[in-house]
């Protein structure tokens, strides 16, 4: 690969990534030269601006046909664009949300936080665009390593340390498992490019290895579910979420989770779409029961265990486990709606969860406690905090006229719209949703029905903006989901996801 070949690639495809990379580098350099005691707030603005620029870049790319560079390892297709928007939006909101994080420890490390965040984002974006096991893996690790550090960002906080350590140990094991599975995928097909893998999986006389395919599938699938915190690799989430700083928790629960779904979709759907399972049945059909069990277990564990939580961050950790379970449902059903369903749900989830974490951030940092009691009488104290929080919770619980409902409705459509409708899975989902009512509405009850002894909560401008934006989005998407769906259908063609670009594009005129 000489310079000519390198230059022949249409690097503009990676413009958003370059922007993020550049800003991250810039931030780290600036941080290095900044005085130790000076405020790092400008860094936040810079990071935010960088993300905005990347977002704009993506919007400019919207009408670009599916393209790929680096021998089809890096793709710009509808899928990557759609999910990158989510990733960028989520990170942007996390940055604004972190703007009032007052703890001394973070203040000291603030610069690090921003460029680590951007690095993690970069990893996630790489995952969205990669079509090769290697780049996928590199992206995944970029995201993971940055996240590990971010979780332990409060250096002097024992809980933060502990959470980071738990995160890295669990993450390391999960990485190893994922890689182990990937090595078998590679070994069975001799390829790392996803499309070629798919091709080989279909073509192979792999029948005698069909067990190995299923084995590889399950190992890889399980390993990848670590990021989305689905059973059985979910147990790190509560501890890590609890110990990590709130913005990081928000990032983990939204952006990192979105990235996890991105890689799951990429690897699982593309690699195994034509793969035979045991007895020549398509593997995706054959493993349905296992994925179903995983999804069901995730929903049950998340929702049921959340019932006993008094720590609000921990409760949201379990809640996010449960939400992951919901989003796993489309994987089971493999409905043709899978992309828009997951995309929409993640979009809704982004707004509601970041919105909720904004409120949590405000309250916990003011009260200095993570106990659920920080919500006590919030409606009396700060109705403008309580009302949006109510919307977020209602949305998380899947109550109509919120985005969460539409998302759940879509998942139901996916689950029940098959030849063999998944009534059981749908029932489990509804039953666990009911269980979730108990703890979600418990927060509402505490906000509205308990009398407060606390004081009014002041809301900084940035946070207010996040709150307003998230609340409005949750409601608007709940009432007019077509805004998002039309955007999706209008700009993204799901078929691109499966479109292999055979011939390398050699253009020198970019």
């Amino acid at each position: 690969m000489d310079l000519d070949t390198l230059l022949s690639f249409r690097w503009s495809v990676m413009l958003p990534e370059f922007i993020i990379l550049g800003v991250a580098t810039l931030l780290s350099v600036i941080d290095l030269f900044m005085k130790k005691e000076s405020s790092r707030k400008p860094l936040a603005w810079l990071a935010g601006a960088g993300i905005l620029a990347a977002l704009i870049a993506i919007f400019m790319q919207l009408d670009i046909e599916v393209t790929s560079i680096l021998y089809d390892t890096y793709r710009l297709d509808s899928f990557s664009k759609a999910f990158k928007i989510l990733l960028l939006l989520g990170t942007l909101l996390v940055i604004v949300l972190s703007s009032n994080y007052k703890k001394e420890d973070l203040e000291e490390n603030r610069g690090e936080f921003y460029y680590l965040l951007l690095a993690a984002l970069l990893g996630a974006m790489m995952m969205a665009s990669s079509a090769d096991l290697i780049t996928l893996f590199v992206g995944l690790e970029l995201l993971s390593l940055s996240s590990y550090v971010m979780a332990g960002l409060e250096r002097r906080n024992k809980r933060s340390n502990e959470s980071a350590f738990k995160y890295i140990v669990s993450g390391g094991i999960a990485t190893a498992i994922t890689l182990f599975g990937m090595s078998y995928i590679f070994g069975l097909t001799g390829e790392t490019n996803l499309f070629k893998i798919a091709e080989n999986m279909g073509n192979l006389e792999l029948l005698e290895h069909s067990f190995l395919i299923v084995f590889a599938f399950i190992i890889t699938f399980a390993g990848l579910t670590f990021k989305i915190a689905a059973a059985p690799l979910h147990m790190w989430a509560p501890d890590v979420y609890e110990g990590a700083p709130v913005p990081v928790t928000a990032f983990l629960s939204v952006v990192s989770k979105t990235a996890g779904f991105v890689i799951l979709l990429r690897v699982i759907i593309i690699c195994f779409i034509a793969a035979p399972g045991i007895d020549k049945e398509p593997i995706l059909l054959q493993v349905q029961p296992y994925v179903m069990v995983l999804a069901a277990a995730t929903m049950i564990i998340g929702n049921v265990t959340a019932l006993r939580q008094r720590n609000i961050k921990r409760m949201f950790a379990y809640s996010s486990i449960a939400q992951a379970g919901y989003i796993l449902v489309p994987f089971v059903s493999n409905s043709s709606l899978i992309f828009e369903l997951i995309w929409f749900y993640l979009l809704a989830y982004l707004f509601m969860n970041i919105g909720a974490f904004t409120v949590i951030q405000l309250l916990t940092s003011q009260e200095g406690s993570n106990d659920i009691g920080v919500f006590r009488g919030l409606f009396r104290r700060s109705p403008w905090l309580a009302v949006p929080m109510t919307f977020f919770i209602l949305s998380l619980a899947g109550i109509p006229i919120t985005a969460g409902f539409i998302g759940k409705f879509g998942i139901f459509m996916g689950a029940l719209g098959l030849e063999q409708p998944q009534y059981w899975l749908a029932s489990v989902m509804m039953a666990t949703t009911l269980v979730s009512y108990v703890y979600y509405f418990n927060i509402i009850a505490i906000m509205f029905f308990r009398d407060s002894d606390g004081t009014k909560v002041s809301i900084p401008g940035g946070m207010a903006a996040v709150l307003a934006f998230c609340a409005a989005s949750v409601l608007i998407l709940g009432v007019m989901p077509d805004l998002a769906l039309d955007f999706f259908y209008g700009n993204f063609d799901v078929n691109e996801f499966f479109m292999q670009i055979e011939t390398e594009v050699h253009t020198h005129d970019h």
Binding site: L416, G417, A426, F441, I444, F449, D482, D486, Y489
Partner: protein
Amino acid sequence: MNTWLLSILILSPLLGVLVLLFTPSQDEKSIKWIGILGTLFPLGTALVTLSAFNKSGEGLQLAEKFQWVSYEVFQSNGDVSYPIFYEVGVNGLSMVLILLTTVVSVLAAIASYSIKKDWKSYFILFFLLEMGMIGVFASQNLFLFFIFFEITLIPMFFLIGRWGYLEKEKAAYSFLIYNGVGSAILLIAFVAMFMKTGTMNFEQLAYTFSLPQSELSDMNITKDFKMGMLIALLLAFAVKLPVAPLHSWMVKVHVQAPPPIVMLHSGILLKIGAYGLIVFGAGLFPDQFESLAFIIGLFGLINLLYGAFLALTQRDMKRVLAYSSVSHMGIVLIGLAALNEAGMTGAVFQVVSHGLISALLFFLVGVLYERGGSSQLKDFGGVAKRMPIFAGVLLAGGLASLGLPGMSGFISEFMAFLGLFETMPVLAAIGTLGLILTAVYVLRAVLAITFGTEKELSNAHDLSSTERIPAFILLAAILFIGIYPAWLSDMLRPTLDSILLGLGG
């Protein structure tokens, strides 16, 4: 004007919310006035709608429809789109229920004078609740129905949990979870039907399901699927109605919620269950409904007798009324199970009639609580002396509840039984035992309060002029329907006929 009339009607309660948002939250008097006026606006709109409504017209009227949500599904055999529409419209049945909703809402708003705190949020939630209730009845597709159905849930949760009595939060949770179960089942059924047929519109669904089995098989719709859907729907609405043994939440709500809210709950919200049974159960799956008729009738009978037996020995007036609601909802089931015009009309009459009667009775219980600080029967006696009008209205309400001719309760009971006697005489004959028991428990409770030796009350004065408005209006409505049922039955006939056509054919 008429093109948007229904949407305006559905959204009309929001006007009150809007005004309230700009009202200082400490100004109790103006908030309460806004509360009342805010419910008058929907009532006015409903009356305009009624005047625009052709009472003898067939089918749907004042319909509105536009595309709302669109999922496009890429399939090997071409793209299939699953559009979801915003579809509203009214037929005789829903018109009647909307009218009932708006009327009871106004009266409940008047009765809300007794609310002691947080008036602003109270009325905002109240309006949202009203919007949900109107929406439920105006919806013409499953999606919209479900959304409004759930919208009623949330304000109710708050209203019970914040403004209720001692164990309010428990009741609120009980309400939420039980109804959550109902709506969960409902959602599964709705989506399943949607995915099979590609439509959510009631009429289209009814048409699709009425196709011969050979055509249905092409859509992968089996008989078992239909039966399963019907059972799911029955279950879901059985929670709402409620059908014993799924009633315990309703008793809790009746006991713990503030009286105006119970007026709405018992008066309207429970009726959503009955409405759902009629529109979805009998309307969509007539054949299956027919084959389940005996079981439905049996459950109706159980409800009727179980509620009545339990009401007999309750010590709290609210609990008596709660179990009486269980019992009365049994009559709805009985009427439906009859599968004939008389029974169906009886069921709908019971829906309306019980809406009015229970609103009246719970209003009076609220007054009673106001006066005596309790609703335990043992704390009252000889109220007729100091509060003769109250006692008179309470007695009238009780008599209406036990089905005294000339009052609405009689018509519904009579017709429901008339219907059932044609198809299941034995069941009906056993059911008449309920009529006796009703008389026993109603008189026991009412007389315990109004008759007998007088007991001291902290605040014994008769109905004030504010209190008389709801009481007298409700009583007048009860009498009006009892004396001139044709007004209602004429409006209902086209709708019920079309449902019966499905059942008969």
